[in-house]
């Protein structure tokens, strides 16, 4: 009995965690108009989703933004992780501390501070402001992903490369980058997902010129039920599941 209790408990928590998601997926194929009762299998919500021009546009906008934010934060984050791993410099502890604070800060605090900055310097809210904000909150996650990889790394390799006459830049390119590649991909995928999912920061720093998906969804679900959102949610779920499996596969395969 007591051996089974933990397993029953774990199962119960997972059921509760996945029940809403399951309901969402099932109802995305619901033919009924009322949204709560089952009205037979249908793809009508997927159809109306793709016929919704503003929605498709917001999808593309979000995708471009996530691509750009993930790429920029991976480049800066990886360089930062390398610097933290390899160099001694003044303010190293402070740099680590600041990245930690960014990761821990409630999103809304980051959001309003960035809004204040953008308005002060007169930056028009749109793609650029969103990109700067998204890179900022993705950065610490990339740094810790790459740092984790570097900490388990054999120090004799860069030493050997240097003894053979490689300078730092060459050594980084030929030895370090291949080693941290899996972490770079995992960090990139994490950044991509964080950007695609963000609601809080985007609410503050986006403008009418560049509407993104989470905000579009937000305006739809605030009141009542929109079956289209079920279909969209199912597609997003499928998408993140693919990304996550890809990232796990990359990380475990390289071990």
């Amino acid at each position: 009995m007591s051996r089974w209790l933990p397993k029953i408990y774990l199962t119960l928590v997972y059921v509760l965690l996945y029940l809403p998601i399951l309901v969402l997926v099932v109802f995305s194929f619901n033919g009924s108009r009322t949204g709560y009762r089952w009205g037979g299998l249908s793809l009508e919500w997927y159809e109306s989703l793709f016929n919704n021009h503003a929605m498709v546009q917001a999808m593309w906008n979000s995708l471009w933004l996530a691509l750009a934010a993930a790429t920029v934060s991976t480049i800066i984050g990886a360089l930062t992780a390398l610097a933290l791993h390899r160099y001694r410099f003044r303010g190293k502890r402070m740099l680590r501390g600041m990245l930690f604070v960014v990761m821990m800060s409630p999103e809304i605090v980051l959001a309003i501070s960035l809004l204040a900055l953008f308005l002060l310097v007169g930056l028009q809210l749109g793609f650029v402001s969103l990109l700067l904000a998204h890179v900022t909150f993705c950065l610490p996650f990339v740094v810790i992903t790459v740092m984790a990889r570097l900490s388990g790394f054999d120090e004799s390799l860069p030493e050997a490369a240097r003894d053979l006459g490689a300078n730092d830049f060459t050594m980084t390119r030929t030895v370090l980058i291949p080693v941290i590649m899996p972490a770079l991909l995992a960090g990139w995928l994490l950044g991509f997902t964080l950007s695609l999912d963000d609601v809080v920061v985007s609410t503050f720093v986006s403008g009418p010129s560049y509407e993104i998906l989470p905000l579009r969804i937000y305006s739809m679900v605030r009141v009542g039920l929109k079956p289209e959102v079920n279909a969209l949610g199912t597609l997003l779920l499928l998408f993140s599941l693919t990304m996550l499996m890809l990232s796990q596969w990359i990380l475990t395969r390289s071990k």
Partner: protein
């Protein structure tokens, strides 16, 4: 030769990351501090003179109520996450390694899924003519639908649902590190199960508990969209107040002061977390 070639690369990297953090983290936060002591202005958002009115306004009974209520809901959320998450992490750490990996993966999947969509999915379950009410009425357990949506309870359910993985992951990591030998040693020294739990397990998992509390308590005050979608359009959370002050009411000094309140709460929790780790380190050495 080495020195010369190595310096430009190092300098470039450090300038880039420090530049980014100073410009997009430090400066904006200083601006918020500055805004909080300025005076509200309908045209330019902010104007002189400097004063502490916005901090005084935080104690206005109207807002004090919101803050205390938000703190209460965040605390209830955190307690539920802890009550569910602690035994969960303990049970998880007792399984075989492969199964642990799979279950942790299943825990992260929702974290990678759009949080708005998941909040909306709860609406399908909780609504007056939603699935739970339909099921209960179908079974004849209730005659009239229960009002679950647009209540504080619904908001708490939503917050627990979204934030549970943030409690479980740090807890799991301390349980995973909790050396079995320590527990066995405690047992060999004659401590009973309860005594081992109180004097060994709890102190050793405390940093994980505090990390989890930090990752749940603060977002639970800030996630305004959960209150909007599941709680109806009321000012339920500090996050809603901050959002309204900045985007609708345009009272920046007050919104900034409310945000600083959250930052101070974060600082206190970070400090507690550090202290608990340090204490543990000292105890391990003696």
């Amino acid at each position: 030769m080495h020195r010369v070639l190595q310096q430009p690369f190092k300098t470039a990297v450090l300038v880039l990351v420090w530049g980014w953090l100073l410009l997009l983290v430090l400066t904006p936060n200083l601006l918020v501090v500055g805004a909080s002591v300025m005076t509200r202005d309908p045209g330019t958002f902010l104007s002189l003179p400097l004063n502490l009115d916005s901090y005084r306004q935080l104690f206005d009974p109207l807002y004090l109520d919101v803050f205390l209520n938000s703190l209460y809901m965040a605390a209830v959320t955190t307690i539920f996450c802890l009550l569910i998450g602690y035994p969960f992490a303990w049970a998880l750490s007792g399984l075989g390694k492969q199964r642990q990996t799979l279950l942790i993966f299943l825990m992260i999947v929702p974290f990678w899924t759009n949080s708005l969509v998941r909040t909306y999915a709860l609406k399908l379950l909780l609504a007056t003519n939603g699935l739970i009410n339909n099921a209960l009425m179908g079974m004849g357990l209730i005659d009239e639908p229960l009002k679950m949506l647009y209540t504080e309870g619904a908001v708490i359910v939503g917050l627990v649902y979204l934030l549970l993985p943030f409690m479980i992951l740090p807890l799991y990591s301390v349980f995973d590190d909790l050396r079995q030998e320590l527990l066995m040693a405690s047992h060999d020294l004659g401590a009973g199960k309860l005594s081992t739990f109180l004097h060994v397990t709890i102190p050793l998992t405390l940093p994980g508990v505090l990390a989890g509390v930090m990752l749940v308590l603060l977002p639970a005050m800030g996630l305004f969209f959960v209150a909007d979608i599941l709680g109806g359009s009321r000012n339920l959370l500090v996050g809603n107040v901050i959002k309204n002050q900045f985007l609708d009411a345009r009272d920046w000094p007050f919104g900034a002061a409310a945000s600083i309140l959250l930052t101070v709460a974060m600082a206190v929790l970070l400090l507690a977390h550090r202290l608990s780790q340090r204490r543990l380190g000292e105890e391990a050495q003696t």
